[in-house]
Symmetry: C2
Subunit: 558 residues, 2 copies
């Protein structure tokens, strides 16, 4: 793999391939090849098609989604080319009657005739509005359907999930993604780390993701580390140089024991705990000897209040004697609200009793099966947690494990196409479209508007009718204070259009954070949020309904 | 990628790397490296540790799990080695105070001192019983925790999900995995295809998975294919050679039109439908011209009963005239029970009316957001579906998106270790253990039994006491009719033990199917299944409770 951190590309340079080298033109459904063959056989493979990629419903019971996965799609099409081995495999997978000419055709195709317009990655997006509009020879564009949907579906879902966790946790908390082990496969984990960072997380435990994307890394030790020690007698090298290098503590283990007694018999803490677990004390001491400047201890292997916190404090105070400042503790079980408050009280008592400035402000990290609901419950109970490590529920999107992204044909050879369904929400919006976000006086986005490709764009200060695409009674006049065209050219194909630069990961993350801050608060509520409006122009509305009547068979009641 | 289909390895050959080249020693949590450093700094890195990998609760409300992911773990450790670039990155990710000697140590490590014992992949497994027992130098084994858990968690979860879908669908149905586009990332999709095949699916739509693992591929066309056609006039090349090559039909389009009229005005079908959708008819005709021997049509783009089925039948009858046998239809929306029965009735009527033998038995495939519940509901309603294409709910494990696989230290330097928790179900079972499955008279497995490493194994025909590990009142005598040792050596490390061969994918699939057939039916029920019993020997029981009392601090009520 030769992916670069924060992949920065200018429009005139070669684009690297997808992060995962398994993302090849074969990562698609077989029917894309059978259709390509049927198109080719009918001489229809060069027909100019326009497809929209969109979703129908926001996830997690919310009213917004963050769009992500675009960079991987562009990296994919920039390098789209079949190898001979791949063509051989496709040949074996199709009926033997398929003609050789088709495989010659496959050998020659790439995405140089495909145009991709997209909403910038990290944007807040809404149902039915195309995230991508892909135009090109129908056989080629069809081949992109499955990989594009795959690359965008989970990316957008988990970014949205991360953004929702950030929303509940609040801006001031540190959010750590700890999900690699529970993710759905290796790049479920790598993707989660990337997209949770975009969604507003601060760091990950996943070293591979840190390397690939330059995401800050975090991590200290596990329960196994604690229970791998039997007692402080095991620690042979007890020396610790002071932080400024001016002195040496010959027996750091002894210093820790001294502090443990001092705490135990101090005026304000006497009687709060008895004998602490010695294997835990040994583990903490050993960890501090290895990382005197980064001492963070997992305190719940045996008993948080009676063993973990006192042991941690003894080691932290010994470090403090030598000029080191401990980082804090991690809680991974039990009543996190209660335990975090107990820990804070203990820290503050020590700050006061022993006059150690800042000891009361040590960081408390919590990390036990957290999700939106538990964060919300912690907020309601009151707690002293500074940082959250979130895994399973975040990365697997446990509350809703898939987003229904679809890829629908909307025009072929300049003829608009519609996909009907008995379920109105599944009817596609035909035509090659332009999409706009209209902003109101207060600076909030008011409505997204889709129009036909050749309609005049909405103008600032000019009243325009916005209609619900399928419900004739839902419509509103809007006088936009700002008009933003949503779809930008990320892959110009053979056109002369300028290509948008793929921004570095940090810029995508910034965009996501800013977009969410810009939304009207009632769209963002966890409970009963107001739906954001998505509309079509009057002209497009009429056309949709003309086409619909045209295509649907007339029933006969018998 | 140079993975081989059905990777067959003998124990004396080199083992290929993991399927996904992103599975490297960096695909782990940062804390594995901070712990490794702390162990190394304390001179403890070579301590001999034993870890168990297990889960605590069966997924999906069931009482069984299928173990999968072992082959990928073995491929991972067989090639475990840090590159210089990786070591550089680890150095940058740790505090600058970390000593150079540690990175020299990392440079030298591999898994030649690690022993892995495991239950064979594709086995039915149960909570608390180790799926893997990993023994070796603690610093190295810790580094394996995250990738092992990642590789096994989703693999076992989705295999189990597939097995559950097979159980509800019944043995006679064809099950197709169609989930690539909705999977959690690219190898969420590739993994899903592999593990759903193990769990009892017959084929996948995922071409990359077909190539990597030799899984049968299936797929025909989408709604977009149908709506990409406007009318039969578009079809220029109307020639079709008969199946035996003896004659040419000059105007297949005309033949289809003729058949459509014949059906429309036939005695038994007159009045059941009016004018069918012409773009659909064109698409079906064109697809049949491309694949006359593999004609399967998606019939719900416009209206299943009034357009899709009649159009399909017209094309299928035209093909039949030329000696080709159509495959059938796919339904992707609406009331699948009703529509499948309507389709079957239509087919049977045609078989009778036009004397086309076998037409009534054409395959009906259904594929709209199916899951265990909808399959069960279809069974209850009565239906005529022969094959199911299942995507989202299957591959994302929507009903439960993660399995709680853990990796716990159970022994270090021959000292048993226990991880306590206020939640009894989270207390780990200490000691390096042996595990057995005991079978009863009827041939069903009765109970899994864990013992200490050096206890005598249970013997056929000899009564043995099996105890619940934590509940003193739950115990039973068992006289096994067959005893199976569960953990086998898959990676002998530096020992002389023989290594189990990694079986080809088909054998793993066979094992899974057989294991499930062997289970007592009440464990397999969808509703209120009976838990399968997992137990420890009397000696291990006593030892667990001795250690527990020893480690837990005594409280003081105040």
């Amino acid at each position: 793999m030769d992916a670069k951190p924060n992949g920065e590309y200018s429009s005139d340079r070669v684009v690297d391939g997808p992060t995962n080298p398994m993302v090849t033109p074969l990562l698609t459904d077989l029917y894309q090849f059978t259709m390509a063959y049927a198109y080719w056989k009918a001489g229809k493979h060069q027909d100019q098609a326009v497809f929209d990629l969109y979703f129908r419903k926001n996830p997690f019971g919310g009213e917004y989604t963050i769009f992500a996965g675009l960079e991987e799609c562009i990296k994919f099409i920039a390098n789209f080319k079949f190898t001979e081995e791949e063509i051989d495999f496709i040949r074996q997978s199709l009926p033997p009657s398929c003609e050789d000419g088709f495989f010659d055709y496959l050998r020659g195709i790439d995405c140089s005739d495909v145009e991709v317009y997209a909403i910038p990655e990290g944007s807040a997006v809404f149902p039915k509005v195309p995230l991508l509009r892909i135009e090109g020879p129908i056989a080629v564009v069809q081949l992109l359907e499955t990989p594009f949907v795959n690359l965008i579906n989970y990316a957008s879902l988990v970014t949205t999930n991360a953004a929702r966790h950030r929303f509940v946790a609040g801006k001031s908390k540190i959010l750590l993604e700890f999900g690699l082990r529970r993710a759905q496969g290796p790049d479920g984990g790598i993707g989660a780390s990337k997209y949770c960072y975009i969604g507003g997380f601060d760091a990950t435990s996943n070293v591979a993701a840190g390397r690939l994307f330059g995401i800050p890394l975090r991590g200290t030790h596990s329960h196994a580390f604690v229970s791998s020690y039997m007692s402080p007698d095991e620690i042979i090298d007890k020396l610790l140089l002071s932080n400024d290098g001016s002195s040496i503590c010959e027996d750091f283990v002894g210093l820790v024991q001294t502090w443990l007694s001092k705490i135990q018999w101090s005026n304000s803490l006497r009687g709060t705990f008895g004998e602490t677990n010695q294997s835990e004390l040994a583990a903490f001491t050993s960890y501090a000897l290895a990382f005197p400047n980064n001492f963070l201890a997992l305190v719940d292997t045996y008993d948080v209040v009676r063993s973990g916190i006192p042991n941690f404090c003894a080691v932290a105070l010994a470090l403090s004697d030598l000029g080191y400042k401990a980082v804090g503790i991690r809680l991974d079980s039990g009543d996190l609200a209660y335990l975090s408050c107990e820990a804070r009280r203990f820290f503050c008592t020590i700050e006061k009793e022993f006059g150690v400035p800042g000891f009361g402000n040590l960081t408390i990290t919590a990390s036990n099966d957290l999700n939106e609901e538990t964060l919300d419950a912690l907020n309601k109970q009151g707690h002293e947690v500074d940082a959250y490590g979130i895994g399973t529920y975040l990365v697997t999107c446990y509350a809703q494990a898939a987003l229904g992204v679809v890829f629908k044909l909307v025009e072929i050879n300049n003829q608009p196409r519609i996909k009907l369904s008995e379920d109105v929400s599944k009817v596609s919006i035909p035509c090659k479209k332009r999409c706009y976000r209209l902003y109101g006086k207060e600076g909030y986005p008011l409505v997204d508007l889709m129009t036909g490709e050749n309609e005049p764009p909405p103008k600032v200060g000019e009243r325009i009718l916005c209609r619900h695409p399928f419900n004739e009674s839902k419509r509103a006049y809007v006088v936009p204070q700002q008009v933003e065209e949503l779809l930008k050219c990320y892959w110009p194909g053979s056109s002369d259009n300028a290509r948008e630069i793929l921004p570095p990961l940090k810029d995508i993350r910034e965009r996501c954070i800013k977009q969410l801050e810009q939304m009207r608060p009632d769209h963002m509520r966890r409970l009963n949020p107001t739906p954001y409006k998505v509309s079509v122009s009057a002209k497009l509305y009429d056309f949709i309904h003309f086409l619909w009547l045209n295509e649907a068979p007339v029933g006969e009641l018998q």
